[in-house]
């Protein structure tokens, strides 16, 4: 018999990176919210790499911050090394990444949840989930029954989790936690289309067992860039270093000799692993001609001696792991503290979700994070934020928030998942966006702060700061477009050193900055009127001027897209009745039920000819509507 444990607006199952953002967003928007975790010490845990950000993922964190989410702030507070990747490849792909003190991060997040108004954090395993007349019911293992208007499922790798290490396998959540087994049956009873995915993590090793003299050192950047627009860069810790080493023929030999003991190659694991984050044995088999593979050795925190072996995940038996790790320079005597493992878990086919992250056919039930088929902390947090916002808006009876592909990587991520689906754990990459030059990490605030403020998540302070940055930027761009720089011997000397044409007459400052060989800061000493600007504003100014032509081009591409996005497909459209659609297209359209022509055009299996048919169909409908 269960006991009644309370009425809520929003219940969140799981307190990982998705659950945290979901619960904070809902509670901050005024909804009474409860969030459940199987283990109170695993809130906001980082069971894999001790870092946040990286290519495209760094963009996601910035966007979460611009909307008023927590991840960026938490990462800045617990950073131990800060790096901007791909500085040489252009502003579209500058990507921020920070090494994180993982225990400190978890602590920060737990404390933030505890302090949040309207929010209850509970250690409990949800074992049943069903809809009653009064809303959704969540029942815990200890028979507490919670009732809520909306529920967000953010179970990560816990759902029917199973760990594999060589021939050994057992039911478990990540990092030695309990799995969530009973909930899966409840979800199957709701007829959710569940599937098995898998992911893996490398070993953690003892710092003092590593010979650092054989390793390349990788320090943080000289100048620090925070994730959050609200963080003062001065406050960020950037003192830790990472190390680089490489595998060799001996590593390869050990792995190939033991490949038959891998549960993956032995066919024991049925779950599909992430294509872009393969285990070492996967890399060695798939890229057989590659001589060596790089690995990063990263600290897990400030007050621990555990080191993480990035790029070396494996599901081979423990003794094989030890053997192959010890073939790597610097790791000859390495002591493995936690073994590498693969974990298999249940998740939903995201084609069963609307772009609001609500489950189709199950109103008020939402999915977020790895449960939706993604991989990565940042992807999870991004979805959690949107699911939390939309659950809260649903409770309030307001229109949901749907981010477009052209607005953000968050929008791209969710559209990809819900429109194209995924056949392996989905990882965000810059190449997934067709609008990379518009969706930069430096302008995430310009793209999303208005929305964050309107929703009510972005604080007045942060919003005011954003408006101030905008004012400064616009003013400086205007100044540079309208003032001229006189030629001088010293300036021409610089121009020649940089390999660009010296000046004979005055040149517009913006035109000088547009020269690829010159930077905004290069010209500082020749520009007497230049105001003192915060680094993030100076960055925006430079990019906006230097890339103006290309940015405008991409903006034109967006305009074209928006026309198709705005061509809405009516609810309850019966694709069987539309003459001329191919059978495959009818099936796919019925499954996805796209909201617009734009979304329909991205469904695999729907051809341009099918889109033409839909356009003609809509035209006819419109004409019918007019004649009525």
């Amino acid at each position: 018999m269960s006991y009644f444990a309370g009425n809520y607006d929003v219940l969140v199952i799981g307190a990982g990176h998705a659950g945290i953002e979901a619960a904070l967003a809902a509670a901050r928007l005024g909804c009474s919210t409860a969030i459940f975790t199987i283990n109170m010490d695993s809130v906001g845990n980082m069971p894999c790499n001790p870092s946040i950000g990286g290519t495209a993922k760094g963009h996601l964190v910035r966007e979460i911050d611009a909307l008023g989410g927590e991840m960026g702030k938490a990462a800045d507070k617990t950073t131990i090394q800060n790096r901007m990747l791909n500085r040489g490849k252009g502003p579209a792909v500058h990507s921020l990444r920070a090494q994180i003190d993982r225990r400190a991060y978890s602590q920060y997040m737990k404390h933030t949840l505890e302090l949040c108004e309207n929010l209850h954090l509970r250690q409990a395993e949800i074992t049943d989930l069903f809809k009653g007349d009064d809303g959704w019911h969540c029942v815990t293992q200890l028979n507490a029954e919670y009732v809520a208007k909306t529920v967000i499922i953010a179970t990560g790798t816990y759902l029917k989790g199973k760990i594999y290490v060589g021939e050994v396998n057992y039911e478990s959540g990540p990092d030695g936690t309990f799995p969530s087994n009973s909930l899966e049956s409840a979800l199957l009873k709701l007829e959710l289309p569940l599937r098995r995915f898998k992911t893996g993590t490398p070993a953690r090793v003892l710092r003092s067992s590593i010979d650092f003299s054989q390793l390349e050192v990788q320090p943080g950047d000289e100048t620090v860039t925070p994730f959050s627009f609200s963080t003062d860069p001065e406050t960020i810790n950037n003192e830790s270093v990472c190390y680089i080493s490489y595998t060799n023929d001996a590593t390869k030999e050990v792995i190939l000799r033991n490949l038959h003991r891998s549960p993956l190659y032995g066919g024991v694991i049925e779950g599909v692993g992430p294509r872009y984050c393969p285990s070492l044995e996967d890399k060695i088999v798939r890229f057989a001609d590659k001589k060596r593979h790089q690995l990063f050795i990263e600290p897990c925190g400030l007050d621990t001696e555990e080191m993480y072996l990035q790029g070396m995940s494996s599901s081979l038996p423990e003794e094989v792991q030890i053997e192959f790790y010890r073939t790597i320079p610097g790791l000859q005597n390495v002591q493995v503290m936690r073994n590498a493992y693969a974990i298999e878990y249940s998740c939903i086919d995201p084609l069963a979700l609307k772009v609001t992250l609500e489950v189709k056919g199950h109103d008020e039930l939402y999915g977020a994070g790895q449960f939706n088929g993604s991989s990565g902390y940042e992807e999870a947090a991004a979805q959690g934020l949107i699911a939390g916002i939309n659950a809260a808006l649903k409770v309030k009876g307001e229109e949901p928030v749907v981010l477009s592909r052209s607005s953000s990587y968050i929008g791209t991520l969710i559209d990809d998942l819900c429109t194209k689906g995924c056949s392996d754990p989905y990882r965000m990459m810059t190449s997934r966006s067709e609008y990379r030059l518009l969706l930069r990490q430096d302008n995430a605030d310009e793209r999303l702060c208005e929305l964050g403020h309107r929703i009510g998540l972005l604080s007045e302070n942060d919003y005011e700061a954003f408006l101030e940055r905008q004012r400064l930027k616009i003013k400086e761009v205007e100044r540079l477009e309208n003032s001229f720089m006189a030629p001088s011997e010293k300036l021409n000397e610089l121009l020649e050193i940089r390999g660009t044409v010296p000046m004979k007459t005055g040149v517009r400052m913006s035109d000088l900055i547009r020269r690829p060989q010159l930077s905004y800061s290069d010209l500082a000493e020749f520009d007497k009127e230049r105001p003192e600007l915060p680094a993030e504003v100076a960055e925006k100014v430079e990019i906006e001027i230097k890339y103006s032509g290309y940015i405008e081009r991409q903006a034109a591409q967006v305009k074209e897209l928006v026309r198709l996005e705005n061509r809405m497909l009516p609810d309850g459209i019966n694709y069987d009745d539309i003459k001329g659609l191919r059978l495959e297209a009818v099936e796919k359209l019925k499954k996805v039920m796209p909201s617009s022509i734009g979304q329909a055009s991205r469904i695999s299996g729907v051809s341009p000819a099918d889109i033409t048919v839909l356009l003609i169909f809509l035209d006819k409908q419109d004409r019918k509507g007019e004649s009525l």
């Binding site: 040489g88 252009g90 690829p516 890339y547 591409q557 341009p608 000819a609 033409t612 003609i616």
Partner: protein, 453 residues
């Protein structure tokens, strides 16, 4: 359920055979109402690809003997059920049959509706659909061959190859961006410039072929110019084979631009005979002269006709100077009266022929010169990579984008900027092949179709 459509599928006019085509879910039922087979078998029971002999009836009156050919969806031109009723040619009979079919429940097909249905049912891609349109409209043999090749997908294939290589380049840029710079060097990006240069060459060639393709398809837009009474109209009449222009010995009698179509050796010339290029105070003639100058600017071919006796006159020098550098053939006419010196034309780089428009001397050489000048001498339309206007528009855009990508790359911009240009190029080519749909494309293509196909 979609409506069933019908139209006459063969050209209007007298012919050995005329076909009425019916397409749609109700095609077989409609046909059964008008067609009675000799064997007594009904079309409803006929399998696809079978023919029945019988007659077409309207009420109790037999219109004509007919063969009914049944196609079952999706194995038909449109991808729907189709019945073709072949009757004896002649517009009266064929139109009677069509009327009977309409009375039996079919709707008259709209412009290009059969092909539109074929496109929508996935039987044709966009460039193939366009090719069908061109086959119907094809004037001249070479045009027909080029269109046939296009229907076979030559344009698609050629463009798809360029598109593939550009897509690969775009993917390389994207992948390069995805790899953090701390990882071992990503290979492939160093070949980007080479990939772009190759694509530039291909696109350049495609666009350059456009003019030739257009001339084959639409005919060579030709202007005949020359001083009054040099024999322009006589030459035109020689080519046309009948008197079309008003020919009188009084200078200045041709005032309007007169258009005529001439076919030889598979080429089509669209001739405009013009008012002479004489300065005149006669207002009507002035308008004619202005029109002539405009035509010279836009013509594919200019035929300058000069009286062989006038080669030394200032007007002749003036005329030939005016067309220098344009694709032109100079005819020194009236060779039956005097043999002129070709220097006046050849010194200006203009090919020249001595000719008598009156008796036809020099005609063969004249035709050969035309082929040389218009670059159509050795054409086999079957190469089939001639773009139409819409396709050219896309290809030109793609070319422009590729060049901008190259500029960005060469002047040292980062690859993300190069990528923006590349994306535009790929998307222009996808528009060309119909893989990317814009509302405009679908409309643009189908409004040009004629009824019946």
């Amino acid at each position: 359920m979609g409506k069933t459509i019908a139209a006459v599928a063969t050209p209007q006019g007298e012919g050995g055979i005329g076909i009425v085509r019916i397409s749609g879910d109700g095609a077989v039922d409609v046909a059964d109402k008008v067609f009675r087979s000799q064997s007594g078998k009904v079309l409803r029971d006929a399998a696809g690809y079978t023919a029945l002999f019988g007659g077409v009836w309207r009420d109790d009156e037999k219109i004509d003997e007919a063969v009914a050919l049944v196609f079952r969806a999706p194995k038909s031109y449109t991808g729907e059920d189709v019945v073709e009723l072949s009757v004896h040619g002649g517009s009266f009979v064929v139109n009677c049959v069509l009327r009977a079919v309409i009375d039996a429940g079919a709707c008259l097909a709209g412009r290009g509706e059969f092909t539109e249905r074929a496109f929508r049912n996935g039987k044709l891609d966009l460039t193939e659909a366009e090719a069908v349109m061109e086959i119907i409209a094809a004037d001249g043999e070479q045009a027909l061959r080029a269109s046939m090749a296009a229907k076979g997908g030559a344009v698609s294939k050629k463009c798809a190859a360029v598109k593939e290589s550009l897509t690969f380049a775009a993917a390389t840029v994207a992948a390069f961006s995805d790899f953090p710079d701390e990882e071992p060097e990503f290979s492939g990006i160093d070949r980007l410039e080479e990939m772009l240069v190759n694509a530039e060459d291909e696109l350049d060639r495609l666009c350059a072929n456009y003019d030739t393709g257009r001339m084959i398809r639409n005919g060579i837009n030709t202007v005949i110019v020359g001083p009054p009474n040099a024999g322009k109209s006589t030459l035109m009449n020689l080519l046309v084979g009948c008197e079309r222009s008003i020919v009188t010995p009084v200078a200045g009698t041709t005032r309007d631009v007169i258009e005529e179509t001439v076919r030889f050796d598979g080429l089509t010339l669209r001739l405009s005979d013009t008012a002479g290029l004489r300065e005149t105070e006669d207002t009507v003639e002035q308008i004619g002269v202005k029109l002539t100058r405009e035509r010279i600017e836009s013509a594919d071919l200019i035929i300058a006709v000069v009286d062989g006796a006038d080669v030394d006159r200032d007007e002749t020098a003036e005329l030939l100077d005016g067309i220098k550098g344009r694709p032109a053939v100079v005819v020194l006419n009236k060779s039956d009266l005097n043999v002129a010196d070709k220097t006046v034309a050849e010194s200006r780089g203009l090919p020249c022929v001595l000719m008598s428009a009156k008796d036809g001397t020099g005609l063969l050489e004249f035709k050969n010169l035309i082929k040389t000048v218009t670059n159509t001498a050795n054409l086999t339309g079957a190469e089939g990579v001639y773009l139409n206007e819409r396709q050219r528009d896309c290809a030109v855009r793609a070319l422009k984008n590729v060049r901008e990508a190259l500029d960005a790359l060469r002047c040292g911009m980062t690859v993300d900027a190069v990528g923006v240009c590349l994306d535009d190029a790929v998307s222009a080519l996808m528009e060309l092949t119909g893989e990317r749909v814009t509302v405009e494309v679908a409309n643009k293509v189908f409004e040009h179709f004629c009824v019946g196909k």
